[in-house]
Symmetry: C2
Subunit: 184 residues, 2 copies
């Protein structure tokens, strides 16, 4: 197995660019509490690290051309100076979800849950990056990362709050909500 250049490692411990403000277990088993998270393209083996989660950015799984054209109006840019707040939300879906066919998953994801349609208005102010972990044999299926400025905290809470009420989220069996602040 070679290394994927699109792999990212999220390493929780006592060192890293991001300081953990809160860690909340929404669903399923908790993740050990840490005070900092470091993100990089290679794995560090420091003894200050409590856990390492990895994922790869990959091709689109549900998005249609029309949706992509709409999404491309607000390209996601990480690392903006004003984006000092972040959320790291690792997610795992149930076996039941993964046994559904593509059309069944798409129907739940968008027709019923409006995952893309509801999110679009928020993407002017909230940058995000999705990392896929399932095929790597990781404990989570997705590692989702969001960055926003402090004034948009409520907007982000609205977005993630909405998603957690959807039909899609009935298939989420592990959901950890970690909020962070970029170190000065």
């Amino acid at each position: 197995m070679q290394n994927n250049p699109n792999i990212s490692f999220f390493q929780g411990g006592f060192e890293g660019e991001w300081t953990v403000k809160s860690m909340m277990t929404i669903t399923g088993e908790a993740l050990e509490e840490v005070s900092k998270i470091a993100i990089g393209n290679s794995m560090q083996n420091e003894n200050t690290i409590k856990w390492t989660l990895s994922g790869v950015s990959s091709h689109l799984r549900y998005t249609t051309r029309n949706e992509k054209n709409a999404l491309d109006q607000t390209p996601s840019i990480l690392g903006k100076t004003e984006s000092t707040c972040a959320a790291f939300i690792p997610l795992k879906k149930s076996d039941e979800w993964w046994l559904l066919t593509q059309d069944e998953r798409r129907k739940i994801f968008e027709n019923q849950s409006k995952h893309i349609q509801f999110s679009i208005p928020y993407l002017n102010t909230i940058s995000r990056k999705l990392h896929h972990s399932r095929d790597l044999g990781e404990p989570f299926d997705f590692l989702t990362w969001f960055e926003f400025s402090p004034v948009n905290q409520q907007l982000f809470d609205d977005l993630v709050g909405y998603l957690r009420t959807t039909e899609e989220w009935n298939y989420v069996v592990r959901d950890i909500d970690i909020r962070l602040i970029r170190n000065k």
Copy 2:
């Protein structure tokens, strides 16, 4: 990164359960010639091994419920006594393919190329297993494995011959066709 229990390693060299009858480079860079292939769930580090390719079995990417119901009529069983012939076909698709949206890829895969519809009648006699490699950072995107009895050799050639004429195959940039016989 933890180990995925669904991972398989295909190791080419001078040892293994399957003897290579022929190796043909259809498209792209060749793979070093080997006389045997060993398949397993862990990687061996013998010096008789020339190359190792790995992939994971994963959820369905394009199949609809109706198609799955049809496919389930002929469940794929590997290791049948009479299936002494195999084909191992690692494939890589272009960046252009992976930048398409889900609906665009599905349209090429099925509406235009009839990948599933054309294959269904063959699946009574040809067993297959698909391994996904792209997100592992592997040199190929897919490792496809087929088993059949010697009398069905021509049927298999018809199936793979058809697929190589489709619109979908215009996006295949590396295609190696390895035929094998199970050791007695």
